[in-house]
């Protein structure tokens, strides 16, 4: 029997993977072929999807951009030495885009059936959890600190220190919360993790639970990810049946159970305290900090709240050791980050690499340039609250500190490329408008400032505005952004100015102002 792989993952599905799967069944039956269809995860090479893979003696051979009508000729080529096909990409593992990556957190994606426990165990699953169960909580926290893992959601806070705080807190109940409210445009690594390797996240959360002494975990997934929710629920059900979850995790006598809660379309719920409010069933309004969620989190109890990728990176750290993980990366940014190439990019997808790679390497060596074929003009790194970077900044190493030094953020590793038809004033206005739509309303700089920001940008750009009026608006916009940065309670209002000010600084011509007029007197 030959196995044929066709992904069951949102991007592949959005490009017709289900229809391809149906065609495989029909065409194979017609030919009397002995095959097994595996609905694997995606490899994360999205420009090739739907990517069909046929098992062979040498490895898995891929066929890209498969339409249902292509399936017959693919089966002929694979099984009956039919004519070689132009969409055959050869051995999938040998494709440079994949081969040159350093996949740790995503070591299994695309290879395994995401819902197969056997596959998971065959590919290193549960080794980390077994080690963690045999380790004292305090020691495990030290190991996590030693690994250098920092929160992958964007804030980059050391995960081990957060866990240690929760471990040391005295309480009758503690919780693990996974932030899967991945709302940043240009990011999809959380979704891929949940859809293509849900057991990895589940294992990471169980480890968090046994290390800090929490018995309940919640994954808060945005409602825009229905497929991820389905996959996660199915995987949790299987994990429960297999005895990973419940009263006695793997027979250890320690309890941990896990539940999925669906968000309801609010970007600000990606902010951890707003997420906790939402999880409690309230409006997603942020809480002032302190107290930290590690001490007073969900229902007022000590809570580990980490992003999906952070938690999904935990099993490999406990399986292979802290030193193994921290050997990747640079400076204080240790390990790998799954970068996400998005927007106007030829080869969009997931590229997991150690910190230190440059934007240009990602965009050119992996991304292959823009999808439109036009020159790239601006790249937004780190989601809608991230800075727009012009070409002069594309050779910086992607590292939390190096980016912070130029007023940019690595964030969740999303990279959105815009070509030379992009108007950065449009995008700056949109950044403010998005803040108007998504502000939780708790603090004034964010709630009112964003509305004023849209107005100021509109005034600046109105055709009737004189140069003098425009220059006045530039000053106003800078002051407004300064107030938002310094006066907002959370990153929503506090970072909306990042794309706005970077657009103004690097691309003043799009705002109809001269370079000198746009120049920030503070940095002159």
């Amino acid at each position: 029997m030959t196995r044929i792989f066709i992904p069951n993952e949102s991007t592949a599905l959005a490009l017709g993977a289900d229809d391809v799967a149906a065609a495989i069944v029909a065409e194979a039956a017609q030919r009397g072929l002995d095959i097994e269809i595996v609905r694997n995860g995606s490899r994360g090479m999205f420009w090739l999807e739907p990517l069909l893979e046929v098992e062979s003696e040498d490895g898995r051979v891929g066929y890209s951009n498969v339409a249902p009508s292509d399936v017959g000729s693919i089966l002929d080529a694979a099984f009956a030495s039919g004519a070689p096909l132009s969409n055959c990409v050869g051995l999938v593992e040998e494709i440079p885009y994949l081969k040159q990556q350093q996949r740790l957190t995503f070591e299994r994606i695309g290879i395994t059936d995401p819902l197969s426990i056997d596959d998971y165990l065959l590919h290193g699953g549960l080794v980390g959890l077994r080690n963690a169960l045999a380790t004292e909580g305090a020691v495990a926290c030290e190991q996590l600190i030693e690994s250098g893992l920092r929160g992958r959601g964007g804030a980059a806070f050391p995960a081990g220190i957060k866990w240690r705080t929760v471990l040391q807190a005295q309480a009758d109940q503690k919780y693990i919360v996974c932030n899967a409210d991945e709302g940043d445009s240009g990011t999809f690594s959380d979704r891929l993790s949940m859809e293509c390797d849900p057991f990895g996240l589940i294992e990471g959360m169980i480890i968090a639970g046994v290390v800090v002494g929490a018995t309940q975990g919640f994954v808060y997934v945005r409602s825009e990810y229905p497929h991820a929710i389905d996959m996660l629920n199915a995987a949790i059900e299987r994990a429960r049946s297999a005895g990973w979850l419940g009263e006695s995790v793997l027979g250890s006598g320690r309890a941990f159970d896990l539940y999925v809660v669906k968000g309801a379309g609010a970007y600000v719920c990606g902010e951890e305290t707003a997420l906790l409010e939402s999880l409690e069933g309230k409006r997603g309004v942020i809480r002032a900090k302190p107290p930290l969620p590690a001490l007073k989190g969900l229902y007022g109890k000590p809570t580990v709240i980490n992003n999906v990728i952070t938690l999904a990176s935990v099993p490999i750290i406990f399986a292979r050791g802290a030193q193994f993980y921290r050997d990747f990366g640079m400076g204080r940014s240790r390990g790998t980050l799954p970068f996400q190439l998005a927007g106007n990019i030829k080869h969009g997808g997931l590229v997991e690499l150690a910190f230190g790679v440059t934007l240009r390497q990602l965009m050119v060596d992996f991304g292959g340039g823009t999808a439109s074929g036009r020159p790239a003009r601006a790249v937004q790194v780190g989601g809608p609250l991230g800075t727009y970077l012009p070409e002069s900044q594309w050779d910086l190493p992607l590292d939390y500190e190096a980016y912070a030094a130029v007023g940019a953020v690595v964030g969740h590793g999303g990279i959105v490329v815009h070509d030379d038809t992009a108007n950065l004033a449009d995008l700056a206005r949109y950044a403010m408008e998005f803040c108007v739509i998504e502000s939780c309303g708790k603090c004034t700089p964010c709630r009112i400032g964003s509305t004023r920001g849209v107005e100021v940008i509109d005034k600046m750009r109105a055709p009737a505005s004189t140069g003098e009026v425009r220059e006045r608006q530039v000053i106003l916009l800078r002051e407004l952004c300064d107030t938002m940065v310094n006066g907002s309670l959370c990153a929503m209002g506090g970072m909306t100015p990042y794309p706005v000010i970077s657009a103004l600084n690097y691309f003043p011509e799009d705002f109809g102002v001269a370079l000198e007029a746009a120049h920030d007197p503070a940095t002159a």
Binding site: F46, A264, R283
Partner: protein
């Protein structure tokens, strides 16, 4: 409100806010509202008071949660809901031009269900009533932008022609299914 109009709303609350329905850890007003919307297609105004009573909350708290989240709708859904992504990645691949095409093709304004028409005319939220167009901010398909969801089905690398085909097939599927159950019971 006539008793007739109250009955189904109370029934929804009884079904989804009961102690059994809320026994799962993580259950809250949010999960109950999801269950009601999944069942009825929207959250009828009539549920606010009985839901507040059942969950020991004020009506203001229930109303506040319903209106805070973009996902919840308080009017019956159209036969076909188009959710088009307008975030940065999709913008870089022409989502705004796509939105213009969608509005022209469907005859309805994007997000009309949230905004009163500027001229003060009676709202015609979904054009012909069959289709509604909503903005969403990221579907996580950013490597294959622009993206949309049409009646829950994801479509990537959307072009005007691809949109037209997807709309036609969603409309014909919807007309075969008939009106959504919710629209019949609660409209």
């Amino acid at each position: 409100l006539t008793p007739h109009a109250i009955a189904p709303a109370a029934e929804l609350v009884a079904r989804h806010a009961s102690a059994e329905a809320r026994a799962t850890p993580g259950s809250s007003l949010l999960t109950v509202l999801h269950a009601i919307q999944d069942d009825a297609g929207y959250i009828p105004d009539g549920v606010v008071a009985p839901l507040a009573k059942a969950m020991n909350l004020s009506r203001a708290e229930v109303h506040g949660v319903i209106t805070f989240y973009h996902h919840f709708r308080t009017t019956p859904p159209p036969q076909v809901t188009v959710q088009v992504c307008r975030a940065e990645s999709c913008r870089s691949m022409g989502s705004e031009a796509l939105v213009a095409h969608i509005e022209q093709r469907t005859g309805c304004h994007v997000d009309a269900h949230r905004h009163a028409p500027a001229d003060g005319a009676t709202a015609a939220p979904h054009g012909s009533g069959a289709v509604g167009v909503e903005s969403v901010y990221c579907l996580g398909l950013c490597a294959v932008s622009p993206a949309m969801m049409i009646n829950g089905k994801l479509v990537a690398r959307v072009t005007p022609a691809k949109f037209d085909a997807a709309l036609d097939s969603a409309l014909s599927a919807a007309s075969q299914d008939g009106q959504p159950r919710a629209a019949k019971e609660f409209a």
